[in-house]
Symmetry: C2
Subunit: 502 residues, 2 copies
């Protein structure tokens, strides 16, 4: 067949748009209604299942929306792990909400690209506004606000935030060393054995020698927090060898166990040695909207160069949304700015850093990519639709559920809570020593997940296999947590009985 006549396709015809979109809304409303009936982890774990079901090539001719949605229902859904299931307790939950969804739809539909201020002034400014709002809500010092000389940007992920701040720190340090690019060989990054893998990946990405990444051990005695004294000792050793301390990552709420590093003490070490301190509060930063959970992050945050947290984890904001604040944006823009002619503005309107106090920010210079989505809209919708008090209640509800689970585990003599619960993550296991008990815990987790009635993940600490239950789903209620505990208990009963019979 030859080419279609010009203008045949009307990709944004309002009526088709409304009809197709409404079909998806119905689909999703039905999905939310039924999501607790699906096995939480993908029903089918046969590799290649979906590839076999789909044709080898794209269709030549367009198809109606209903046919596509039928295929989603039949072919795709059984191969999805249902992150919005109320019984999803794995990794850290990535919660969704109607408000974030509405804001995201609006942003996707408007499809503006606020890379330079003039390319959509209100989009850039709304981002500066919500970043200031968020900083105040979680109790960050004024130096991270636009009015206080700092500022914030919405990244896609903590990894992007870490890469950008590492690059900023790297260039600042190399300028100080003053021996040219060879300086990069001397730079050292510090993290703990509990720090997210993102730090190591990011350090490698920005060209820090892999041998200059220090993984400092933590212990149960310190609650798996990074001890400032250990960092100090490591740094002294490196300095004595002629190396240059570059970057220290402090985590509030580690991924494995929810541990909290002492921000103030680490900040003191960082300051003393001219290091960049980044505070990664990806998960637990959300809890800082509540006064009773704020201390970990707020105490010492004024010593940090940058702070990040992910509204897409536990702040009701659909993927992807990571808040990054910096105390001095010029370090960021020095490392990341570009100024090609095709992005300049000929209309006599100044954009860019000079006007950052007004929110006239060229955000392309605050991130890895040039192009960017209008992410501020969805976070603004969440804050407006639920209000700070609504979100506090939401967080407190999850923490209460985790507390209940922790007490339940403590009340069953066969189990132990492995690390102090903080926020909404409970790490537990069947008691005992040696490899055998690890095997039993592994089997327990596999059986729980295999039942389809809950999904949890694991961690290994000091050689022990630990089961993680992370509460944080938008639809999770106390009854789901109770069901999960009953499931764990019943599954353990059965497993232990079978073991005795063997």
């Amino acid at each position: 067949m030859g080419s279609l006549p010009v203008d045949t396709l009307q990709p944004l015809d309002p009526d088709t748009f409304a009809a197709d979109s409404s079909a998806v809304i119905d689909f999703l409303a039905g999905y939310y209604r039924d999501v607790d009936k699906y096995p939480v982890r993908a029903a089918s774990l046969e590799p290649g299942r979906l590839r076999k079901l789909l044709p080898d090539s794209a269709p030549e001719w367009g198809e109606p929306m209903d046919a596509i949605l039928d295929d989603v229902r039949r072919d795709v859904l059984p191969g999805l792990t249902h992150w919005q299931s109320p019984s999803f307790f794995a990794y850290f939950p990535m919660n969704a909400s109607s408000a974030a969804f509405a804001g995201e739809m609006l942003s996707v539909g408007l499809n503006v690209v606020p890379f330079v201020w003039v390319a959509s002034p209100a989009a850039a400014e709304l981002e500066t506004v919500v970043m200031d709002w968020m900083a105040k809500l979680i109790g960050l010092p004024d130096r991270f606000l636009f009015g206080g000389g700092g500022g914030g940007v919405l990244q896609g992920s903590t990894c992007e935030a870490v890469v950008c701040t590492l690059a900023a720190a790297r260039d600042r340090a190399m300028a100080r060393i003053g021996i040219g690019h060879e300086g990069i060989l001397k730079l050292v990054v510090y993290a703990s054995d509990q720090t997210h893998a993102t730090s190591q990946k990011g350090a490698r990405l920005v060209g820090i020698p892999p041998a200059n990444f220090r993984v400092i051990p933590t212990s149960s005695a310190d609650g798996y927090a990074l001890a400032a004294s250990s960092v100090h000792a490591e740094v002294e050793r490196d300095v004595a060898r002629g190396l240059v301390p570059l970057y220290l990552c402090a985590t509030v709420g580690t991924t494995g166990l929810g541990a909290v590093d002492p921000v103030r003490e680490l900040g003191d070490v960082a300051r003393r040695h001219g290091m960049w301190l980044h505070v990664d509060a990806a998960y637990a930063g959300a809890a800082a909207v509540c006064a009773e959970h704020r201390g970990h992050l707020a105490d010492g945050a004024e010593l940090a160069d940058s702070v990040s947290m992910n509204p897409h984890k536990w702040f009701l904001t659909n993927m992807d949304c990571c808040c990054l604040w910096v105390a001095d944006p010029t370090h960021l823009t020095a490392a990341l700015s570009t100024d090609p002619e095709y992005l300049r503005n000929v209309d006599g309107v100044a954009g860019g850093e000079k006007l950052a106090g007004d929110g006239a920010v060229d955000y392309k210079d605050w991130q890895i990519s040039l192009s960017r989505r209008f992410r501020a809209m969805k976070l603004w919708f969440v804050l407006r639709r639920y209000g700070a008090e609504g979100i506090r209640g939401y967080i407190r509800g999850h923490v209460a559920m985790a507390e209940w689970f922790e007490r339940a585990v403590g009340g069953d003599g066969r189990f132990e809570v492995v690390a102090k619960r903080r926020f909404s993550l409970v790490c537990f296991r069947l008691r005992g020593d040696g490899e055998e008990v690890d095997g039993v815990n592994r089997e327990l987790l596999a059986a729980v997940n295999g039942s389809g009635r809950a999904f949890m993940t694991h961690f290994v600490v000091e050689g022990k296999f630990v089961i993680r239950l992370a509460v944080g789903g938008a639809m999770t209620e106390m009854r789901h947590v109770r069901d999960a505990w009953e499931l764990v208990q019943r599954t353990a009963d059965q497993l232990l009985l079978e073991r005795r019979r063997r």
Copy 2:
């Protein structure tokens, strides 16, 4: 006020979800109906305008959706540049479509995070399927398909694709040099003066010495293409100085002028010197769905190590969506993989590279970030809903409109087309020499944009100020291009008249 009772918020209550979402659908359908009535570039360019309109802090209590949408209409819309306006001809258009919107909504609503295969097998596999479909559609050789030993991944932007491939190339080269991390000081990246700023930013980001980034001049004689002989000469000089050629970026459809680098010839140079060849077809890659536009990319693509193109530019896919294919994924995963315990799978189901042939890919190791959105859904929806032939017709329509505009410019003796039109970008200006004529062209562009009836951007080549008209909006029809030309002519009439009067 104290904390709210647990479970007060129901963020995914299906009825609220449907009501809030439907309000946004209505809003957007109305927006598409009226978008041609808005000034294309933001009506207000007063820095800080939106910040002044909004409160200093987030609200304490939630608000109804209608109130929020009213604020969007009143406060935000006047500060947006309307990228979906049919008269948006600036930068490169970022087109939207009902199908991509529907797919994106589904992905946002399901909110699954397919970073490892088991975290949503069907999401990872759908991505491998659509990447193979896309590779075939634009005529890439089999080596970029999963079945052919290669594979593809959806990134957020070309910059991410460039950073990932630079990191892969860097680690491959350093392993070859074999002198440890010091090798990074010897690595050299090559691009032309027309290559996107992304290459330079990316090279800096991954730690390549800024002094080792070569910007090779192009000329009008070569149509602003990067001549293989120039690269060869530069490379020989660097090799003689003990440096190591690392990475060469060939562009099909440059941002400034739409120039096309000779992929095969550059590939030969790259092969001879062991360089990584990346082909950046961010914009023009979409045109390769049409046989008549395929040659530029297809001829020599088998010599490339990686190829990227952005469906979010001219392939009906809302932001963000960048296809990256690599011939050998192990280079990518060697540079980008992490394997922390909390992401391992205890259930006896293997994920990861070993099974990539089945689509069981752990995509976290193919990109910068760990977390990721389910981007494949929207691209799949575009391909299904419109079919290859529908998309070809769409592309051909835009090319025909650009051809018309080019002829119109050629037919008015006061104007000239500055670079050979390829695809849908026309670069033109009022004729003449010297700075004065640049000033007139600047004024012309400022007046056109200031009218609110079209939005174009500019470029500077060989000292000449050039106006760029890029056709590619989802709602752009021939009449909008005709109107734009009439606007340019009328504005020029007026400007030239005023100048004569001065």
